[in-house]
Amino acid sequence: MSTALVYALCGASLVGVGLYGFITRAHLLRRILAFNIIGSGIFLLLGGAGSRQGAVSPDPVPQAVIITGIVVALSLTALAVALLVRLVEDTGRATLPGEDASRDA
């Protein structure tokens, strides 16, 4: 068991946690949160892969790619949040119709 493996496994668990949140929660802000958690889980997996060899300095390519990914995730989160606020203004609901209905049971 190495540090890299610990965080890679943590990343895999986070993918699961985020997925669970995305499936079970209807409130869109929570789903946006869940997306971000899945994303950072995937990045940890990639980062864990980059530092597996136990070298002093981990592979810089995954690091650079992850920084790009973090910025892309922020861009999408910003659009999602703005869209959500607009949706609430238009409809008064922060859920999508047909989704919370199936969850009410």
Partner: protein, 491 residues
Amino acid sequence: MTASGLAALPLLELTVVLPLAGLLLALPLGHHGARATLALAPIILLVTALLCIEIMWSGAPIERVAGGWDVPLGIALRADGISGAFLLTTALVACAVAVFQAQGGQDGGATRRSTFWPLFLATWGALNAVFVSGDLFNLYVALELLTLAAVAMVAYGSTEAAMRYLLFALSGSLVFLLGVALIYAGSGTFDIGLLGSAGAGDTAMTVAAAFMTAGLLAKAALFPFHAWLPPAHGNAPTPASALLSALVVKAPFFILVRIWFDIGPETSGVLMQLLGYLGVAAILYGSLLAMRQERLKLVIAYSTVAQLGYLFLVFPLAGAAQDLPWTAGTWSGAIFHALSHALAKAALFLAAGIVIEAVGHDRLQGLAGLARDLPMTVFAFGIAAVSIMGLPPSGAFIGKYLMLTGALAGGHVFLAIVMIGGGLLAAAYLFRPLRLMLLAGETQPAKAIARRRQVVPLLLALAAVGLGIAASLPYALLQIGRSLTATEGIE
């Protein structure tokens, strides 16, 4: 200009650079963005056409590495025949949409907002970036650029549809990214070419490819991930509907073709069969729902769900049997179908947009007799419908013919029956609005539409048919850099 003269120009890079430069120009220009786009669009079309000529001329894929750093350290840009074909189709559709919209399209103020043209050019640039990218992570970034622009354009029409689209697209990209991460963890590269030549064949790579595939299916709206498509494409403003239905859903399909035919992870064929059966379900389900819609744009949107199904038949037909003599033809047939569908579907949506502008709605029952006042538009709708149905001499006919030949030669009788049945269903759901518009009726357009705008969908529809008439040139283009082992198709 000679071949070497063409090669001296960075045509490949320019196909990506020009739309992106255009969007950076259009963003500060505000509502003058329309003029900038109109000036730029023909230049991009020209560059794309020259690139296709260069590919044909050299007879080999064109490859560049960004920054001069060789893979796996750098990022490769690669344009083979299929890239060229998709780039050119995109340029044709985008030019048509730009001309159509810049001449005074009115869609709930979409183009009054100065963000429309930057988003339009971002879509174009992102599509081109997907078609020439040789790097899996770079594809992820390009896909997200595409998502951002496409979702925002849908939001002009409906916030709710845009939100649903964003959720599907985001889950799709994340699952794709998960696959990409596993690929890098296992192989230490993002480069498609290297992955292909390494013959990555273990279970891990297959699982990674399965993740990438699942993510792309959500983005491509293949049944059962289609729920977002009809509301998004049916409620977006006309130019956005045309771009989305014609091109944006083809980008994930394109990447799937790259993954399964260029990287070619070892597979039992089960996954390929599964994709094929999902395609069958999409054809049947999409067609049946298209028949039951009461709005013209929803009929066209559900038709996209059905037609996308055809594309996925390529996986069982050409993927599971890589070295049979007819696979080249089957593979090319599917690509033909994708290109022809892009042209025809853009024509249908633009024609529907003209109908909406003229009568103020797109409820089928209120369209009776429209052919009297909008003959050119209804004619364009009819020609495009012929192409969607796959009747000769359209490009889709060539596509379906090639796929059908492959299916019968390979013993896939069931798939062949579905393909023929799907054509009949398409005829059924497209004849319904067409018959209504041709009927004697009392619908009076409230607004006259300029002929120079009505001609745009007609030209697109004719291009879809023309693809079938002059099929040999695009067929030859598609063969360049095709990765299948089979060298001869069925002519």
